[in-house]
Symmetry: C2
Amino acid sequence: MLTTRLDLARIRAARRDIDPIFLDTPLYQCDALGRELGCTVSIKLETANPVRSFKARGTELVATRLTGQGRAAAVCASAGNLGQALGWSGHRRGLAVTVVATRRAPAAKLDRIRALGAELELVDGDFEAARERAAGIARQRGIRLVEDSLDIETCEGAATIGLELAAAGSSFDTVLIALGGGALATGIGYVLKTLSPGVEVICVQPLGAPAMTRSWHERRVVTTDSADTIADGVAGRFPIPAVLEDLLQVADDAVLVHEASIVAGMRLLLKHTGLVVEPSAALGIAAVLEDPGRFAGRHLVTIICGNNVDLDAYRRWVHP
Amino acid sequence: MLTTRLDLARIRAARRDIDPIFLDTPLYQCDALGRELGCTVSIKLETANPVRSFKARGTELVATRLTGQGRAAAVCASAGNLGQALGWSGHRRGLAVTVVATRRAPAAKLDRIRALGAELELVDGDFEAARERAAGIARQRGIRLVEDSLDIETCEGAATIGLELAAAGSSFDTVLIALGGGALATGIGYVLKTLSPGVEVICVQPLGAPAMTRSWHERRVVTTDSADTIADGVAGRFPIPAVLEDLLQVADDAVLVHEASIVAGMRLLLKHTGLVVEPSAALGIAAVLEDPGRFAGRHLVTIICGNNVDLDAYRRWVHP
């Protein structure tokens, strides 16, 4: 019996509060990619929506509940995708949204946050600096601080992907999930361990930002002094204890991959699916490239979690 | 009252014979693209499936009916996408599929046809040469010739996209459809004219392959001596009379666009949606770029009909 913060009935109910445009996303087998990797690969595509990532599943819940409570504003720190998603969900409901991001965030993500009508504040330093500043704004203004992975709505939103995977009833035996703060991994992992316990749940993080993976292996919070990866969406340094507790129960493994493998994964996804993805979305394929023997002959699902990427940077990485 | 070859009850029934993986595809608004074009743009995405185009909606019907009749083989001419789709649908049902294509077809499409287990025969010349050869093979072997746009299943399959658009009940007022043989345009057009008659149906074809558009404007079959466009998927020269008859009833307009606009459309789709598309899929955006005043302030849906593209050619076009 799992004793996480997640609850299946709440996750099922969450679907009602999420705009259908973010639900029931494509899940399809890509034979050409599978042939190249020596296994069967299915893609769960979370980018064909107005915010181009899975994050709106969570922000739809946050925004629905805030408006239900009569609240008028919210603030979040974001590497880019959460900010866009909260901007979108807030805008639809008349919520004033402030997003704090680091100046290092991809320009494409920052532009889109502004375009959604959110107030954007930039800070020096990395994601953790943005997190501090967002917390300060929430205190000053007395508004809700939306914290990715800590706030249960962000995990429940991600968990609705797990419901769709479990309902597909297909024969996959492994799911590969990008690991950052942990909302995506704990959400999907919880649902699969509850409804499809035979499916192996593997989290993948860059070697350059390994805090949560190290924490999972050591079964205690391990922080790092810096994060250095092109996968900006998963570059946290301070794992949240409650999220780690959940992850310890629902993940079967957590692996680290090299930057070169992430780029190779992006290249393969472009070649075999025509999808330009952000680095975080290629972590699953990177894991297969680094350990093909482990995955040989298996049926994997990899979550294409976002495609908000600066095209100039993408070209530098993928077509050197 | 429309008197086309299409029938709403048959189209609704067709959904049952199509693998669900090809149905209920994403339909979502892309604000950044709309801002750049001065209108509202929604995307109907037909590439997130195992054959990367809408064509399997039709070949699923063909293959289901052939197996129901106890037939064991089929042949088609294809610019690439129909061949892949028939290969996929046939393979799932134990049908032997032969595909005739021109040597000029994108290598990526030819490779994927072979990989699906279909027999691939290459001919010199253009698509019309492939069509002749496929007809010859059908006669010699006594097997079913699958003719895109002429065979009603290919139109009915495409028409299921129209059902999904009509059911979405959103506020779009115009749909832009790539025009080649006419299955996509007559299928979607018929359903919209029946269920959502207020929606304007605009077909878009390259100036370099204008046979069907000219035929529509002159209300009689007009053939051309050659076809010269990067949009290989719509490069026919001999419109089929029965398809033209249907198109005359369901299309509000048919427009021609320059190659440079197709490339500009591909570039905008990459920038604002992260989708690498084949040229045919950019025809709708190309039409808006050529006549922005006509579409200003409107809500358009454009069908992203396929993304089987040679990446080397794509890079040459899009990042010169």
